[in-house]
Subunit: 411 residues, 2 copies
Amino acid sequence: MSIPATDPCCDGQPGMLSVEQAVGQLLAQVQAITESERVELSTAAGRVLARDLASPIDVPGFDNSAMDGYALHSRDLDGARVTGLPVSQRITAGSVGTALQPGSAARIFTGAPLPEGADTVVMQELCRLEDDQVVIDAAAAPGTNIRPRGNDITAGSIVLAHGTRLRAAHLGLAASVGIGTLEVVRQPRVAVLATGDELVEPGRPLPPGRIYNSNRYQLQALLQAQGCEVIDLGGVADTFGATREALQQAAARADMVMTTGGVSVGEEDHVKAALEDIGELTLWRVRMKPGKPLAFGHIGDTPFMGLPGNPVSVFVTFLLFARPCLQTLQGCGESEPHRYPVRSGFNYQAKGRREYVRVRLEAEVAMKYPRQGSDVLSSVAWADGLVEIAEDTRVHTGDMVSFLPFSEWAR
Amino acid sequence: MSIPATDPCCDGQPGMLSVEQAVGQLLAQVQAITESERVELSTAAGRVLARDLASPIDVPGFDNSAMDGYALHSRDLDGARVTGLPVSQRITAGSVGTALQPGSAARIFTGAPLPEGADTVVMQELCRLEDDQVVIDAAAAPGTNIRPRGNDITAGSIVLAHGTRLRAAHLGLAASVGIGTLEVVRQPRVAVLATGDELVEPGRPLPPGRIYNSNRYQLQALLQAQGCEVIDLGGVADTFGATREALQQAAARADMVMTTGGVSVGEEDHVKAALEDIGELTLWRVRMKPGKPLAFGHIGDTPFMGLPGNPVSVFVTFLLFARPCLQTLQGCGESEPHRYPVRSGFNYQAKGRREYVRVRLEAEVAMKYPRQGSDVLSSVAWADGLVEIAEDTRVHTGDMVSFLPFSEWAR
């Protein structure tokens, strides 16, 4: 038996990367996907816009009424005194009126185009009808209750920037300028392999000493939430040859290859051996907890990321390291997840590494899941976010801490 | 011409509902869907768990090593002095060792089962091999670096509660206890109709006085993000008979019918007339901005919700009113979206209604979109959340305000 390569990961040790350093190095090695495809608005949610979208039209396309009421010219209202004006026409949304004669008013509804010759709309609650005349008990300045043409958008202006992750309002906005299809970035294809001799698929009997494969399902859902198409390499036989062959084939058709488990300091692993044979691999120690060991490399031009084996570490390292890479792959201009100041409901001592504590906000106080081990996936399932605690920092109950809601990561 | 029913919605007027009152009344009229279906883990993300999930197994299923190192009995370590022990076996994750002879050690890897007779694991960084013996330069208390059986989960305990919206970690957790399929609530079917004579579908030419239909696409994406299946009634002819027929058929197969535009005070509208004919309809004035008018009713047993016509009002009323109904339909135990205290980057005066201002967080300060009109959908597309300002409240730059990230609503 040979002595394993000991690589003491002492806390705070020089040579370890900070989270920011690791992310910076990762992003420098990932290229944005340049292929795009055109999709209908109804299937574009969650995709990333490939090109700036300019509006072909003004919005609104015409001066229109912001209220149900009466359109008229302000000079026909005599100060704040009651005025009677004949009602010459009725303009509903979607219809077009005729030019307004001086000294007359038009019944008008919200969104209907202002008739030529009118410069104001009086809301119906300030009006009453007497015979065929509208009696108005108010003054009105020019422009009141009118949405001017081009107020929201002028023709030719950029309404959605490339790199936008498309949400409901973006799709509504594209529709509002008449655009029915959008050019979006091709979805990244990520090949996934959860490694480990001990893994058994759920639904099957569990032999002694073995555990169920949870990372495969967790990672698949995490990738899909980031807009990726998953290539599941789950069925690879556990030999060097089969692993090497599967990784090489996956790299040829995937934008990224990702594994969980195995690829870490001092471990014997087919993925590691295969990668060293067909590509390159660097083992990183990141000054964080959970999730310290991280492997990065490439097979040909395809980036490779080896996440740790413990499921909590998979979750945290995915969000901190894989997500920015996947955003970059998609040319996505999304910013960092927001951190919010909240009150701590617990005491904590972070030692030489930055810690990510699984918490749930209860009455605006961050409550810690009691067991924070990196194997305790219940902590993530229970939590609704992470509290980030800097290296060598003591937190007391009642202190303000930095909260990262899980919902922020899925933006 | 008849005088329209004037219904003066003066700010702060008695008779208007608060947001909370309106939500309370809505939820009292929505019944949870009782049908469920069984799905594979790989398609369960975003669905709602229909029944409590109990673990059939302990997790971990056996005492195992938390480190790569050497398993031994603590009595064989002589205080903190260097000790040499013969290495009798090698236990990798997934394999099972034999009982440890007193005075010997086993090479062991992370996740591998602790052999009988061992009560501690010493991490490899504290060990060296000399001849066939492992030399250890440390003491070790019983239980060190051991994850005990059942530490995360005990057999029979509930690991996921019914009503849980399933995220990646929940799926990983189900897999980790050997569960490969989950019983989830049937997706709500929501029939949607965007009304208005003025609406033109994107991609077609825009006649004078008309506008493009944005609500159809926005609402579809909002509903899908809440886990709903959309029944698009977009193609209904704009007559009373066709609308009545379409609504009646939709109500028979949908869990909820939702419209935008039209169904509001004093407006003439086929949807309103049809609903009054085949169901019941109440018009509500909610003390909020944007989005004051809201219609609620039913067609037979199927709840009906009429959102306003302006796209910003659709967005805000959807999140405040439709989302809680859809959660209740799904039996979903999700709590209210969190609100976070942030600093305001703007001055604002809310009058008699609660206001929802579209903002973007920039360097942790909430910046207001300049145009806050309820027709300006750009404001929602630009923003990443809402600042909620109470009735009759003045906000100054630098004040702390309550921020609702859009990401929270999609949890």
